[in-house]
Symmetry: none
Subunit: 200 residues, 4 copies
DNA sequence: CGGTAAACGAGACGGTACGTCGGGTCTTAGC
DNA sequence: GCTAAGACCCGACGTACCGTCTCGTTTACCG
């Protein structure tokens, strides 16, 4: 049914993923075409269609290759004991990456593809976002264990509260993405919107 | 330079925008084509190319028409005096809209187009998101004035803290978009992640 | 029914015809468009559509203007008494004109338009070809009267026999159009294909 | 450089040429479009653009297919020994063909395309007109060998003298194309315009 | 170790949509 | 009331890619 993965050419696979990344960095994402990827990779179109269901899936695998190549298996957030400082540090790095012309555009391309395609979104949640989100949860959990976070806190909501505003602002360009902004997001999220000491 | 707007056919303009909305509701956004819009609207393709720079711009104008047609000029958030209840109410309505097959897909389409195109994003921020965000800020400002929100609070950050997580989860499909989730976002954002009564 | 010719702007008429000639000389005939003529002439498209039924009709009128402007009313072929010499002279002039980049292309354009459009062909026969053919016939008739041409000769066929081969070779490019060729056509036509003195 | 002809689909090629002929017979040549041919042939437009440089080239190939399909390789003119009778016969057949609504319009279309395009004209001279002209020359050469044509006669000029007037009258519609006319052309061409027995 | 079946590069194929050009009609101002 | 200007609907242009489908050519497993 599915092609025998054993016979698959690793060289072609890597060539395709590399070509996809190269092209999405060089030019507009809108101009990324399977035909173009195949040509750049020196690969027949059929080879792409044989192994990937969509352009987005190629892009997704390309990111997977990147993220696996970049480090070990499980990402970990820094833990100096100072949660606020750690989060600020991490978000600053994220912002830098998003603003980096080498990483931003491909990430944007992938995000767009995910917004299009629910299946891809599921894969993303499982394979790329999942592990990272787990690392974030872990860091928060540790903070919670030492009493730096509220006891009943839903950690998933907490993660969203910190990263959601940043990612949304980045993707929709509703405002400039600066470290000043992300710092403020962290401190505000930790403290909450209400005045301290308010009762209701 | 730009075509003389005076000679423009209002009938054609409305036909195009209506057709675009209809089509994006009926089918996949990926299948939305200028050719299709023109055919559905009973309009020449050139008429679209003459007045709009891109498919996204058409979609944007279509939303503008909707939002202007929908009500008066300036949107206002409800104010019962109970900020939390009001926010929960508004977010629930938002979630309902996003999950509505009539409104969700077009919004998603526009969001994707905005993620693509910085110029369109700027127009969006100014014309569509802007007024709405101002209404949100207004509601929070009133709450701030009666001491329900912290004094030094940056209201833009506050808005992002409440809507950012929801929009991000919706667009990226990182999780199900339920009222339970949004209620939790509101209460958590108001309270903050830290335990109440903590000093640092 | 037909537009009132009295109100017609002579300036516009001349501008259109001149523009048509200019354009057909400058570039490929295939690129000649009513839109282009109107723009070049500084005239609205409607003005052309109001007064001419087709692009070919404009071209035709342009030639009419040329031919009327060029000389008096009725063209006359030279008559030195030596028919063969006169014909050779005339055909050489014709060849020169056809090979002239200023005159050849417009003539070709008109010929093509005539081949397309029977109505235009009729107008051509009546207004442009007719008078010229009459002059040719006249010259032959005079030769016939002084015994230089056969008595029962059909002069129309005779005209075709001399000019037909040349025009056909020019339009279809079945061979190079040289004076050597046309000279040979004239002498051969006058003498006939059979050997002199043959009985059959 | 040129596409690999080996992989070319013969079925598509024939479908295109047949469709082109069908369409040019059915309707106005001016309405013949590559889009229309592709649709009728059940073929993608690109397949036409891949193999033919222009609409005229398609038409040309269609004729080539016809003429090769029609008979053997080299056309031959009848030779009963009576040159005049043979020529009259052939020209009558030609006239019938040109006036035939099945053959005339496509031929006219091709002629027009040839008048437009020098490259096509060259191909026409070589592949279609060439063989036919050779057959004509052959027939005349045989007549010349038996003393029915003048010794020094240029056979190419002779061919033009017989067929040129007819083709020119047909294409430019300078007069009706009847067998009476073509018969007269043949006899006049053979005899010449001058009176028999004239010295100059 | 030679045969064979899958994957491979290449690229033609039927299609859809692109963005542009020009056709011919209609409307608006202006002289 | 014709004119210049130009928007309008329409259809074709020639191009770019889509996803499918042969082609021969490696390549790697299996008998």
């Amino acid at each position: 049914m599915t092609p025998n993965t054993a016979r698959r050419s690793e060289a072609s696979r890597r060539a395709v993923l590399t070509a996809a990344l190269d092209l999405v960095q060089e030019a507009d994402y809108a101009k990324l075409s399977i035909e173009g990827i195949a040509a750049r990779a020196g690969v027949g179109k059929q080879t792409i269609y044989r192994w990937w269901p969509s352009k987005g899936a190629v892009l997704f695998d390309a990111f997977l290759m990147l993220s696996e190549g970049a480090g070990g298996e499980a990402p970990v957030l820094p833990d100096t004991g100072d949660l606020e400082a750690d989060l600020i540090l991490v978000l600053r790095a994220t912002v830098e990456e998003l603003n980096d012309p080498r990483f931003g555009p491909p990430m944007r391309a992938l995000s767009i593809e995910i917004a299009h395609d629910p299946e891809l979104a599921a894969a993303y949640v499982e394979r790329l976002d999942g592990p990272l989100r787990e690392a974030k949860r872990q860091r928060l959990r540790r903070a919670q264990q030492v009493g730096q976070l509220a006891e009943g806190l839903d950690l998933d909501v907490a993660v969203d509260m910190i990263w959601g505003p940043v990612l949304n602002r980045w993707l929709q360009r509703t405002g400039p993405l600066t470290t000043a902004y992300t710092d403020l997001v962290v401190t505000t999220a930790l403290t909450g919107l209400r005045p301290r000491g308010s009762s209701s």
